[in-house]
C-alpha cells in the first residue's frame, strides 16, 4: 500500500516540475526559394554577382553583389497580395513581380503562427534584360526548403 502511494505522489511531483517551456528550433519564414539556372547549360549555376532588393527599397538589399548564390530567398509582402523585386544579375537589372494569396499557418506551439502563400503563376511578371525565362516549380510557399521558381539567365 505504501509503495502504491509513494509511486502516485512521486509521479504527481514529477508532472508538476516537468512543465518547462520549450524553444522554437524551426524555420518560421515562408519565402520563395528561387533557383538560378544558366540557360546555355541548363544547370543550377551561380552568376558572377547578384543583387536583389524590393522595388523602392534599394537602401535595404537582400543580396548585395553577392557571389556563389545558386538559390535566392525572396520573402513576400504579407500586407498585400503582390510585390516586386529588382534583380541585378551580373550588373544587369530586371524586375520580378509576384501575385499570391496569404493564409495563416500554425508551425508549432513553440514557434507560433506564420503566413503561408499560394503563388498565382498567371500573375508572375518579369523583364527580360538578363533573365531569359522563369518557371514555377511549386506554387505553395512554405517554410520548407523546396524549390519554388527557376530563373533562367
Amino acid at each position: 500500500m505504501r509503495g502504491y502511494l509513494f509511486a502516485i505522489l512521486s509521479g504527481m511531483i514529477l508532472i508538476l516540475v516537468s512543465c518547462a517551456p520549450q524553444t522554437c528550433y524551426e524555420n518560421t519564414d515562408a519565402e520563395v526559394k528561387a533557383y538560378l539556372y544558366k540557360k546555355s547549360t541548363n544547370t543550377n549555376t551561380a552568376p558572377d554577382s547578384i543583387t536583389i532588393y524590393g522595388l523602392n527599397m534599394e537602401s535595404d538589399k537582400l543580396y548585395d553583389k553577392s557571389i556563389n548564390v545558386k538559390s535566392a530567398i525572396l520573402p513576400l509582402d504579407i500586407s498585400t497580395s503582390a510585390c516586386k523585386y529588382v534583380i541585378r544579375i551580373n550588373g544587369v537589372n530586371d524586375t520580378l513581380g509576384f501575385g499570391y494569396d496569404n493564409f495563416p499557418y500554425l508551425i508549432s506551439k513553440e514557434c507560433g503562427y506564420t503566413y503561408y502563400h499560394n503563388l498565382n503563376p498567371d500573375s508572375l511578371t518579369y523583364t527580360t534584360h538578363k533573365i531569359i525565362s522563369i518557371s514555377v516549380i511549386k506554387s505553395s510557399i512554405t517554410n520548407l526548403n523546396e524549390e519554388n521558381i527557376r530563373i533562367y539567365y
Partner: protein
C-alpha cells in the same frame, strides 16, 4: 439399495451446488462496483498555472471481474501566450471505452486494479488566436484568427494502477497515450491544445492522470480461479542432485 440411492442423490446435490469446483480450482465472491472518479492533477495544476483549467470525472461499472465499461467527461479552459502570439481554447470532451484488469481475481478482490483501458474520445471546443505577429523583409504585420468551433476525435490507451486506500475510496493513476484522428480544423490551423487530447499539433500525445475514486459495490459474483500448480521445493531438487 436405499443407501446406493442416497449416495447418488448426495453426489448429484453436491455437484449441483458446486458445479465447477474441482481439486485445482478456488471460488471467491468478487464484488462488482460502480466507480465515480475525479481527476486530481488538473485542479491542483490550476493553482500553479491559472492559464490551464483541466477537469475530468469518470463513471465506470464492472461487467465482471476483468472488464468494466467507462464513461468520462471533462472541461478545458486553456490560454497560452508568448512573444509572438496569443491562443485560447475552451470546450468539453467525452470518452467512452472499456478497462481490462490484468490482476487475478483472487489477488484483486475488487480492491486492486492493474491493467489497461481503451477509449474513444470526442471533444467540442472553440479556439481563437486573438493576436499574432510576423516579421519579414517587408516589415511587421499583426493578424488574428477569429473564434472557430470544432469537433476533435481521438483514441486513447491508458495503462494504469488503482488501489483501495480506505473502504470505498481508491487512488489510481494512469498513463494516457492518445492518437489523433481528426481535429476538425484542417492542417493549417490545428488547435494548439484541445479538451481531452492535449497538444493538437501532434499526431500523438501522452499525459498522466491521478484519480480519487469512490467505489460503490452493487453485486457479488462467484468467480472460479485455477489454482497455481505447486512449485517444486529446493529440498526436492537438492535431494535429487545428491542421488
Amino acid at each position: 439399495m436405499r443407501r446406493t440411492y442416497a449416495y447418488i442423490i448426495s453426489i448429484i446435490f453436491m455437484i449441483s451446488c458446486f458445479p465447477q469446483l474441482s481439486s485445482g480450482q478456488d471460488t471467491i465472491d468478487f464484488p462488482l462496483k460502480i466507480r465515480l472518479g475525479i481527476e486530481a492533477v488538473g485542479p491542483v495544476s490550476y493553482y500553479t498555472d491559472r492559464n490551464i483549467l483541466n477537469t475530468e470525472v469518470y463513471l465506470s461499472a464492472d461487467l465482471n471481474e476483468k472488464r468494466s465499461v467507462i464513461l468520462s467527461g471533462g472541461y478545458l479552459d486553456y490560454k497560452y501566450s508568448q512573444y509572438n502570439y496569443e491562443y485560447s481554447n475552451k470546450g468539453f470532451f467525452v470518452k467512452a471505452g472499456m478497462d481490462f484488469n490484468l490482476i487475478k481475481p483472487l489477488k484483486s478482490q475488487g480492491k486492486y486494479w492493474a491493467g489497461i483501458g481503451f477509449r474513444y474520445g470526442i471533444s467540442h471546443f472553440t479556439s481563437q488566436v486573438p493576436g499574432f505577429s510576423v516579421d519579414n523583409y517587408w516589415g511587421s504585420i499583426s493578424g488574428s484568427i477569429p473564434a472557430q468551433t470544432s469537433w476533435g476525435h481521438y483514441l486513447e490507451a491508458s495503462p494504469g494502477i488503482r488501489t483501495e486506500i480506505f473502504r470505498s475510496l481508491s487512488l489510481g493513476c494512469s498513463v494516457n497515450i492518445r492518437m489523433l484522428i481528426h481535429t476538425g480544423l484542417g492542417k493549417d490551423l490545428r488547435p494548439i491544445y484541445f479538451p481531452g487530447y492535449g497538444p493538437g499539433a501532434n499526431k500523438t500525445s501522452t499525459s498522466f492522470s491521478y484519480f480519487l475514486i469512490w467505489n460503490i459495490p452493487f453485486k457479488k459474483i462467484r468467480v472460479i480461479q485455477q489454482k497455481a500448480p505447486p512449485e517444486e521445493s529446493d529440498d526436492t531438487e537438492d535431494n535429487t542432485t545428491n542421488r
